[in-house]
Symmetry: C2
C-alpha cells in the first residue's frame, strides 16, 4: 500500500514524504509507518522524511517486482474471462500469458487478446516459463484437483478465486479471494453496527 501511494507521489513530482503524510494517505499512524519501513531498512532522512523516488525503488525491490511476473488464468468461465481482460494486472506489470480450460466448447475460443488453451497443455507451457503465478477461477468442486495439478507442474504461487479452501504444500504460496465471504463480513458489520474499515 505504501508503494501504491509513493508511486502516486512520485509521478506527481513530490520529492520527499514524511511518515505523517504517508500515514494520512494510508489511514494509519506515523509510528506505524516508521516501524513498518524500519523493518526493511533505514530509508528516511531525519528532519526531511523519506525520499519518494528512492523508497519506491526499494519497495519494488523488496516486493520482488523488478522481476517480470507472468500470469496464467485457469478457468475460462465468467470470472476467468473478466480477469483475462482485466487491465489492472497489465497496469501493475503482470503479463497474462495464457487462459486454460478443459471444456472443449471453450478451447480455441478467443477472449479479448487471449486464446483459451487446453488445460492439458498447461503443464508444458508453465514448465517452459519461469516466474509464473496461477490465478484460479473455476468452480469449487474442481479447485483442489486443479491446484494439485498445477502445483505438480511446478507453479509456486496461486491466487485463488474459487470459493473453496484449498490446500497447498508448504513451499507454495497461496492467497484466496472469496467474494461471498467479503459480503458476509459486510453483513456482519451492518447487522452489528461495526462499520468495518476493511483492509485494502
Amino acid at each position: 500500500m505504501y508503494l501504491r501511494y509513493l508511486e502516486e507521489l512520485d509521478t506527481s513530482g513530490q520529492n520527499t514524504a514524511s511518515s505523517d503524510e504517508l500515514a494520512e494517505l494510508c489511514h494509519t499512524t506515523p509510528a506505524q509507518v516508521r516501524k513498518d519501513l524500519s523493518f526493511f531498512g533505514s530509508f528516511g532522512k531525519r528532519g526531511l522524511g523519506y525520499p519518494v523516488h528512492e523508497l519506491t525503488a526499494h519497495l519494488r525491490e523488496i516486493l520482488g517486482l523488478e522481476r517480470e511476473w507472468k500470469i496464467v488464468i485457469v478457468g475460462a468461465g465468467k470470472i476467468g474471462a473478466a480477469l483475462a481482460n482485466y487491465d489492472g494486472f497489465r497496469q501493475r506489470g503482470f503479463q497474462v500469458i495464457g487462459v486454460y480450460d478443459n471444456s472443449p466448447s471453450k478451447i480455441g475460443h478467443s477472449w479479448g487478446e487471449a486464446v483459451v488453451r487446453d488445460m492439458a497443455q498447461l503443464d508444458a507451457d508453465v514448465r517452459a516459463e519461469d516466474s509464473v503465478i496461477a490465478v484460479i477461477a473455476i468452480p469449487s468442486d474442481d479447485a483442489q484437483n486443479v491446484v494439485d495439478r498445477i502445483v505438480a507442474a511446478g507453479i509456486r504461487a496461486i491466487l485463488n478465486f474459487a470459493p473453496a479452501q484449498v490446500t497447498v504444500p508448504p513451499n507454495v504460496s497461496l492467497k484466496s479471494v472469496n467474494m461471498a465471504m467479503e459480503l458476509e463480513g459486510l453483513s456482519f458489520a451492518l447487522t452489528n453496527n461495526f462499520s468495518d474499515r476493511g483492509a485494502a
Copy 2:
C-alpha cells in the same frame, strides 16, 4: 469460515464437530476455535463437541444472514459484467438487483439476466430497497466520486473492487479487494521464501 465448513459438515450429515476437527478444516488451532466461538456464546457440549446444525444457525444469525441481502453492481465493465453473472453470490443468498453504469453505450444493454441501468437511477432504486450492498467495479479515477454518491443515496455497505483506496464516513462499512495487490503479495512471498498461507 467456520460457517462455510459447518454447512459442509451439516449437508454431509455430521451431527457434531469438535474444536479439533474445525481447527484442522480451517487451518488453525483448537484453542483458537473455542475462543472465537466463545466470544459469541457457549454453543458446545463438553465431551461431545459443537452441534453442527445448531451452530450453523447461530452463526448465520450472528452474521446477519437471516435477512435477505441485495446487491447492486456499479460499473458494467469487464469486472462488473462478470460479477453480475457470478453464481457465487446467488449461491450464498445474495440477490443481484441491478447493474448500473453511466456510459450511454452500455445502458439498456442486457448482460445475462441483468439489464444495465443509468447510474442516475441508482439513487431512486436504492432508496426504495432496504439492505442493499453496493459492489464497486469501476476505474480507479471515478471510484471516490461514485462512492460518495451512493453513500449519499443511503448505502451503508460497500465492496470495492476498484484498485483505489476510497474513504467513507464512519457509519458506512467498506471492504476492498485489490487483485493486483494480492499478486504483489505473492511476488513478495516468492521472492523472500515466505510461503504465505494467505487468509480466505
